[in-house]
């Protein structure tokens, strides 16, 4: 499965969610599918996308928050999985695209290439629902289940180590940040 195909398969559902991604291929590929004001791309601070998602999910329980994480980022903040599990916000879906490598900096293999199992680590940390998926269809189904489930879910999607040709996009970091903040401010007014 290619990551961009996995994201494309759930793209229509993302319109109703708040989405936080990591940097690199995930951010560039989601933008290639079409940026929306409810998408925030954390273009550095590896490991903290899931922490940002937790901060949003706890602050705004009425919203559904989706984090698009990666194996390299999760491995930099494994303790964060225990914090996610501790507060287990039911409105958070944590997706980890696992290509077993640090693709954007040359493809160096991560520890998932030698057997570290992120879904197993998440489950052992206390995340109530976990899944590992290997096809786009499995991903789409697991994602739909996770959105519907009244519990925190971590989905590990095993993807090919292929990415976009470029990582820098036209969207400036601060433009994204302020647009996203305004979205979060206004979405409360329209839904209440």
């Amino acid at each position: 499965m290619r990551r961009v195909d996995a994201m494309n398969s759930v793209y229509p559902e993302l319109e109703r969610c708040v989405v936080v991604t990591i940097m690199g291929a995930v951010a560039a590929e989601l933008q290639s599918l079409g940026h929306r004001p409810n998408f925030f791309y954390l273009q550095h601070a590896m490991g903290l996308a899931s922490s940002m998602g937790l901060g949003i999910a706890l602050s705004r329980p009425e919203l559904t928050v989706v984090v698009f994480d990666g194996d390299g980022s999760v491995l930099m903040n494994l303790g964060g999985l225990t914090t996610l599990a501790r507060y287990r916000p039911s409105n958070l879906v944590h997706v980890v695209f696992d290509n077993e490598s640090l693709l954007s900096v040359g493809g160096f293999p991560t520890a998932t290439s030698t057997g570290s199992d992120i879904a197993g680590i998440a489950a052992a940390a206390g995340v109530p629902r976990t899944a590992t998926v290997r096809t786009v269809e499995e991903f789409r189904n697991a994602f739909a289940d996770a959105i519907a489930a009244p519990e925190l879910t971590t989905i590990v999607a095993k993807v090919e180590a292929v990415g976009p040709s470029a990582y820098v996009t036209d969207l400036s970091l601060l433009e994204n940040r302020y647009q996203f903040q305004r979205y979060l401010r206004d979405v409360g007014k329209t839904s209440s």
């Binding site: 954390l42 903290l48 922490s51 901060g55 949003i56 602050s59 303790g79 507060y87």
Partner: protein, 170 residues
Amino acid sequence: MPVSVSSSKLIYECLKESGVRMVSALPETWLVHLIRFAEEDQEMTLVRLAKEEEGVGISAGAHLAGVRSAMLMQNHGFLASVNGIVSCAQLYRIPLLMLISHRGEMGERDPWQTEGGGVTEHVLEALRIQHARLESPDHVGRRIAKAQTLAYSASRPVALLLCRDLMWEE
């Protein structure tokens, strides 16, 4: 344990007065009362961390979602958070209020704390993070309010150092 309850209470009340409704924290001796107050307060969301840097991401998310937050940590936790502060809070202009217990200054008896005390302010300066020392109860209210004001007007992190003379009664 001679951690000042009255100073902790004052700090906590001033934090609430400045609009803080979420606190992320990692326990350390000087912060025990502050963390307990947050835990017992129905109006406050306390997020207990595994490592301090997570708190930067949590505060950034809370800020964008419209909730004021603060980080409670030891200076060694601040030192452990530097990448998150630079590449999340500074890069994305997040008004991040950090309350840092300033261990390792004069009077410190724990040998393991003594390196951090000498470098914390230098690291804050290197990061261009404005900071103030809270050394007595008179400092607390005004400096917390001013720190919040600057954090929001500048959209940057600010730091308040909780110092021995305020936090420790011997």
